[in-house]
Assembly symmetry: C2
Homo-oligomer: 129 residues x 2
């Protein structure tokens, strides 16, 4: 049985992947992988995903140069999500931000403790309940 037999791909043959900075723990991005992407990641140590928009294997950084060296691949308890622990070479986000998660949603029960702030501040009162 190959390693990827332990992964439960969904009806589209994909599994969500969280990419986390192995150094400081920042969550950088969430993308998707098919079996080939997982196998190539494990074989090469370079992060591979499946581009849902382009419908093809996607080696992170193949055009931008912002590759990710994968230190470890983890699978969750029920096998339907992966975690890549990576050493990023450049920003993960296509916007040039280090992480794709730079915007905060604010609500009455949740504050804005970090991040850009301006994205979320003041919207809490507009939350419909």
């Amino acid at each position: 049985m190959g390693v990827t037999e332990r992964v439960r791909f969904d009806e589209k043959g994909l599994v969500p992947v969280v990419a986390q900075d192995a150094e400081d723990g920042a969550v950088l991005m969430v993308a998707y992988a098919d079996r080939e992407a997982v196998e190539r990641t494990l074989a090469t140590g370079e992060a591979h995903y499946y581009s849902r928009s382009r419908g093809e294997l996607w080696r992170k950084g193949q055009t931008s140069g912002n590759t990710q060296r994968v230190v470890e691949v983890r699978v969750d308890c029920d096998g339907d999500t992966l975690l890549y622990l990576v050493e990023p070479r450049g920003p993960a986000c296509h916007t040039g931000e280090r992480t794709c998660f730079f915007a905060t949603l604010a609500g009455e029960g949740v504050g804005v403790s970090a991040g850009r702030g301006e994205d979320g501040v003041g919207l809490g009162a507009m939350l419909e309940r």
Copy 2:
């Protein structure tokens, strides 16, 4: 416009959510949320998800007691994934592990730097390429 208008729910009305320990950055779990779950999380500061197996709103810890206080909710650059920064009260995983990502997949290009190890060690050579 409500805060959740910024979130792009998929064709099932769901969005994946990464729960991360706000204190030390550990990725605890990935689950899904519908609009109601996001709104309740923002309004109450307690992590809510949508249980795909039960088909209903799921307040984390409602039966186990292992709730999650949400410090911040972030949305990624294209609006289709959320990040809950949480203070967990007890393990996130139904197995009793602190995080659902306790198992490692090993390959020739990726080592085993942490985690349980035994789950992944030695399987690398069996990887089909």
